[in-house]
Symmetry: C3
């Protein structure tokens, strides 16, 4: 496989600076690239690597223009609107996609009264319960379980060994990675005579369009009503979402975060990795929670928080800086005491 640089530039709607008449044979990261490869830079701090890379061409973004001293360059640059996305488009050319599953495998197990749209694929050993609806173009991989009366809309990808319990509602273009569990019972008990009795979890989970859910992530069904994930929200691996949580649109939730029951999360929120959010609180729109925040109280919109208990990020930074200087403070305090006692 080889492609002319000019062809690639055209594909990504980019402008070439430097030699135009070269041929590209592969793609690689900026550090690993060798002669004949095209690579890319997204983050400013990697721009100095333009001097040392062995790549033949590098895609950068228009915004980098003033930061590049091209006189040094022996390589070709391609300016694109978003270098990272442009590179992905080119990478797809060099790494051809494998064929997608097609049709309903004879070893798939389909319940009664299942409505299946056009071009749906169901792999072997997927099990689909009664009265399920699956929209056109959706692909169900092996080992997936879909419980009774669930609906999955069009063009979804449900990867192997996902478990989707009964009555779950899933929108269009939703991607659910392997091992994720949607609609397991919420964790609810009441105490009676010294033991814990189960509170029935009668609600559902609703996942809106364009959501992506990571591998082995768990989203519990509501006690009643619904646990809901808003349109365009992206959830990483091993995340726990408790019952009756309502998450807004375009939220990002990074790996190993846990959100306790009945939390409300606004739109465009970013929650970094290993965060914990206590039950029954609200996180406003556009909030950013730093990695490992432990959020114990509601957070107003447009706030950045960090620490445990989570506080406005600047305040937490001030406290953390003080903590670092504690050994010195203790020493100085001792000296001061001595001085005074004299």
């Amino acid at each position: 496989m080889q492609k002319k640089l000019t062809e690639l530039a055209k594909l990504i709607n980019g402008e070439i600076e430097g030699a135009r008449d070269i041929v590209i044979k592969g793609i690689a990261g900026i550090k690993e690239a060798k002669k004949g490869d095209v690579s890319f830079i997204e983050n400013d701090r990697y721009l100095p690597l333009l001097d040392s890379t062995s790549a033949s061409a590098v895609i950068v973004s228009h915004k980098h223009k003033n930061k590049i001293d091209f006189s040094k360059g022996a390589i070709s640059l391609i300016y694109a609107e978003n270098s990272s996305f442009a590179f992905s488009q080119i990478a797809s050319l060099f790494i051809p996609e494998l064929p997608k599953p097609q049709g309903i495998h004879p070893a798939a197990v389909i319940g009664k009264n299942v409505a299946v749209g056009k071009n749906v694929a169901v792999q072997a050993c997927a099990v689909i319960g009664d009265n399920v609806q699956i929209g056109a173009g959706t692909i169900i991989y092996s080992g997936v379980y879909i419980g009774q009366e669930s609906c999955i809309d069009e063009d979804c990808l449900i990867y192997p060994n996902v478990s989707i319990r009964e009555r779950t509602r899933i929108g269009c273009r939703v991607i659910i990675h392997s091992g994720a569990v949607i609609g397991s019972d919420g964790f609810g008990f009441f105490s009676a005579r010294g033991s814990h009795r189960k509170i029935s979890q009668l609600g559902i989970v609703e996942i809106n369009d364009d959501v992506e859910i990571g591998a082995n992530t768990t989203i519990d069904r509501a006690r009643f009503n619904k646990t809901s994930i808003g349109k365009g929200t992206k959830i990483d691996n091993l995340v726990q979402i408790g019952h009756n949580v309502v998450i807004g649109k375009n939220v990002i939730i990074v790996a190993q975060t846990a959100i306790a029951g009945s939390v409300q999360v606004g739109d465009n929120v970013t929650i970094a990795g290993q965060v914990g959010i206590a039950g029954h609180i609200s996180i406003g729109d556009n909030v950013v929670a730093a990695a490992r925040s432990g959020i114990t109280k509601s957070v107003p919109e447009n706030t950045s928080v960090s620490g445990f208990p989570a506080k406005p990020h600047k305040h937490e930074m001030k406290i953390k800086a003080c903590v670092q200087r504690l050994p010195k403070l203790f020493q100085k305090f001792k000296e001061l005491e001595k001085k005074i006692e004299k």
Copy 2:
């Protein structure tokens, strides 16, 4: 579906205050309820919502009686012993249960010499090893694996894609949610000539009656002897239980907690979310560990702990309060230094 309020009150053994002669058409949370709905309040702090809810009737607990100023109320109240449980009973009327799986599906794969009790259900693509015993009334969902010589007693629910390795012993009325793994090898190695060699994990996992285990939780088999979960203990999602851990009765373990190998946990312990417990220590009866505690030493019974390293909760609160005031302390210290230097 509609029900007379008097019928519902009778069902939950409750007393009506206010209009008795009304008809209920649905159930909802106190904030979402509309005319015709019955709702409930469990926590005192939501009692003020009685004035603003659109519900036609609200279930409260007897203990709330003195805290409600009912003269304001245009709604009917039902007093019950436990409002939350009473509401669940009513909710079950309005949300009819789906039919449970029945019988052994022809696409289930059953090993040799498997003993199956009355009314056992095994769904398609569940795989049951040789010499397994399954008690009456137990339901095994799709994609479940049960290894050789395991025993599962009566009336258990084993949800889709659970993996239960060989020789596991499970009591009655145990619920295991999707993706949980019971009996994976403990994490044990010894070093020899610069590499890690596996220590065989020859023991088992024993899960006693009335235990519930959350989605994608992992419980490792013992090195020898057994990892054991006591009667009535409830474990949330994505929890890790190491090899040879022994957990008592009626323990609550919230999501994403990790308990390292050979820990002993007493009865009636509560372990909140994202806690970590170091190996080979003991947690006494009735201990409460706050969310995100990192427990590094044994904890005596009847203690509340928090923080990392975990300490008695009151002591940790004192330290946390000091940490919050550090920026001020640093400033005051500077001022004091100046004063003295003058």
Copy 3:
């Protein structure tokens, strides 16, 4: 089952001290052992239990020799090079292994052009995609999914319900525990007009020889190129490994740790439980990260770190000690202020 002590000593190449002519009927931990059992002690701090154990014989290591006051002993000791490993060898005698799966089950689903070595076993309801290669002696349990063009080399154990996505490369003697997900998409998006767009994850996962991967652990495929786990590395349960992470040889990663994208981890590193490592940084050879470390910057080789943000362990210990003494400092500071104001 019973064995002469002399036979057992021979098996583990050990020397008996005390009565030689006894018969062993079982194995047990030092605390649980009863008459007729053989037990072992690995850690010095358990040596005092030699006086109280009911075991008939106890295996200890040569290094314990000077620490044992054997005059007291009514039991037999066996000295071995590594008591823990020696005990495992004996334990295997008393707990006979169950038969391993054999052959390809008729309910396994095998794709086109799959190359299978000698003595490969594939259990029922495992699904293997087209163009997969499986080396001799490898066992694939039930519910496992192996995507197209993946290669698994010889003598691997792939436990039930593992999901291995397309193009994954797995070495020899690799063990993957139930529910683990290998090759799920990396968590990569770019923002365009207020929504998050997926960046294709075109790379692979490569797992080298002798790696062990815990239950429900997730390892994402690279954006391009590969996510790589080095030879002999052992990963516990519920660990998250992001895309393009490169992990060295003989690394230990304990449960619930998360490693963000593009991190480089050297050889012989030990990462304890619930650690978090931020993206795009390097962890040098032989680094030890204590439990719950939050590593935000690259760590030079041969360093021990702890805390969040992680620092050299000694420095962090000093700071932690200061934090513990804060309530006292605040009090003393108040007293000093008063003294001066007088």
